[in-house]
Amino acid sequence: MRRFRLAAVLLAALCFSAGLAMAGPLEPFGRGTWKSILKAHAGRPLVVHFWGLSCAPCRKEMPRWGEILARKPNAPIVMINADLVPNLVEDAEKFLEQSGLAGAENWIFEDRFVERLRYEVDPQWQGEIPLTLLIAADGRRTTIEGAAPASAVLDWLDVQAAAEK
């Protein structure tokens, strides 16, 4: 237990020094944030999920993401609110809390030039959500458009973990 706490403190310190958000409140995702997220997670598998409150399929699947996080609390999951109808931070935070995702690494789009933010993630992405990117340790990406089946995400995480060993 103690070891875990120490690891958490170290990890938090590391993230703090990198200027990145870990658990807790939504952090603003602006120009360049995508690059810094990739950098912070470089060399490790990463799951990135884009969502928004105005998107009914997103709201429906969010509790499943909460369950994934509950089953794998240390899973490298980054949730990014990229709603095309911008959400209020308070509303988004409340919903993350309700979905069991307050402890994930949470971001929210904070630049009205959303095309530029999206271009940094994927030049072809025109904003459709939900969208999930499974990024392997070597940077290889798998894109899931629409709701992501929890089993697919969990299986992918297991495969990546096995590959890391």
């Binding site: 109808v85 308070e90 030049p123 072809q124």
Partner: protein, 407 residues
């Protein structure tokens, strides 16, 4: 807007005693505080030409809708006139924008959508019978409050106003009584209503097609008097969100629904990326749309010479690497125009191409306007003789650019 500026604005708001609720918690909210009734503050601008050649625009900030007009093709505008007397929670999604029609006598009808905290929409209508000097208090377009969005207004030849929008009343009803009680059915519906009194009242809303995509703008044009044509993202079997078209047989009778293209985009998501439609004088339908289907991905164009029953093979538009989207079609005289948006990571450009043979062949695409910050969708608008690009960009302001035949 920078954090520093946001902070300054926040501080100013405090000093001025603005209620805490009006202060936005984050940067993009602060940037949205440009709520002046000024073209420079407009997030979207929708144009229309009146028969006398006056250019009218309806624009929205984050919470207000206003109208202005220009007698000199957009070089200068009249003082903006508020349509919303008070701030309203406008639908600020990318495919949402206020609409405007102006009849031969200068009577104006404006429609726009608001939404509540749960993103349930409501369409409001306001009108002016004094040539835009003042507007009536906005009224809901329909009694139902089961969510309406993506409204359109189109003027028929006899001055009647055709309104169509995406409506969730059937979905609400199905939730109560459907076989899967408690489970909301997919999508929404295409609803329509008519006004014979210049927007003062609208007929009871009717559903032209159930189970349409709930989060994309729709496109409307007339095939002839009393015969609207509507293109919309439909939900086909298997949650396939491809485009469909319906031509009305008469004002009250939606005709059969035809498929524009089998893109096979099976997805549970919200594209917020609707189609464009133009109907040429000779009856040719021009349609452009965005898809990420299994059959094709990107922006496409097709035409129909049999009133929408069948369409030509989809023609890919733009350069795939710069994400072409947000199409706008227009037919003026014998020429068809297609404009769209591309973004290369630094610069957004509006590209236009033209066809003189009903869309069989198109000119080489040409970028005619650019901007390096955020911008509205491009809209093509005609005054009966010429075609223009209407485009609002944050940094560069509003532009109305005449298009040459060879644009």
């Amino acid at each position: 807007m920078s954090h520093a500026l946001a902070l300054i604005f926040g501080t100013l708001a405090l000093v001025a005693g603005v209620p805490a609720q009006a202060q936005m918690t984050h940067e993009h909210k602060a940037a949205e505080t440009c709520t002046d009734l000024a073209l420079a503050c407009a997030a979207s601008v929708t144009p229309t030409f009146a028969a006398d050649g006056t250019l009218w625009i309806v624009a929205r900030t984050s919470d207000r809708v206003f109208v202005a007009k220009s007698a000199d093709r957009g070089k200068s505008f009249s003082e903006p006139v508020a349509v919303t007397p008070e701030p309203m929670p406008l639908d600020t999604g990318p495919d949402s924008r206020p609409k405007i029609v102006v009849d031969r006598k200068g009577r104006v009808v404006v429609a726009f959508a608001v939404r509540d905290k749960k993103f349930k929409g409501r369409v409001f209508v306001s009108r002016s019978s004094d040539k835009g000097k003042s507007f009536s208090p906005p009224d809901p377009i329909t009694a139902s409050d089961e969510s309406q969005r993506f409204e359109t207004l189109t003027l028929d030849a006899d001055g009647r106003v055709f309104a169509a929008w995406i409506d969730k009343r059937n979905r609400a009803a199905a939730r109560e009584t459907g076989p899967e009680k408690g489970e909301a059915p997919k999508g929404a519906a295409l609803a329509f209503a008519w006004s014979g009194d210049h927007g003062a009242t609208f007929s009871e809303a009717r559903i032209a097609q159930d189970q349409t995509c709930e989060c994309c703008r729709i496109a409307v044009a007339f095939a002839g008097p009393g015969r609207p044509v509507v293109v919309f993202r439909n939900i086909f079997e298997g949650s396939v969100r491809d485009h469909a078209i319906v031509t009305f047989a008469d004002r009250e009778t939606p005709g059969p629904v035809h498929r524009v293209s089998t893109d096979d985009w099976a997805i549970e998501s919200c594209p917020h990326h609707g189609p464009s439609l133009a109907v040429a004088k000779n009856g040719t339908y021009h349609v452009a749309w965005f898809t990420k289907g299994r059959a094709r991905q990107g922006l496409f164009y097709a035409r129909s010479s049999d009133a929408g029953a069948t369409f030509s093979d989809p023609l890919p538009i733009g350069r795939p690497e710069t994400a072409p989207g947000r199409p706008s079609l227009l037919s003026v005289g014998g020429t068809a125009y297609l404009a769209w948006k591309e973004f290369d990571g630094a610069v957004t450009s509006i590209t236009v191409m033209t066809s003189h043979d009903d869309g069989a062949h198109w000119s080489t695409p040409r970028a005619i306007a650019t901007t390096s910050e955020d911008s509205d969708h491009p809209i093509l608008v005609g005054d009966g003789r010429r075609a223009y690009l209407s485009w609002q960009a944050r940094e560069d302001g509003y532009r109305l650019l005449p298009l040459g035949d060879a644009s």
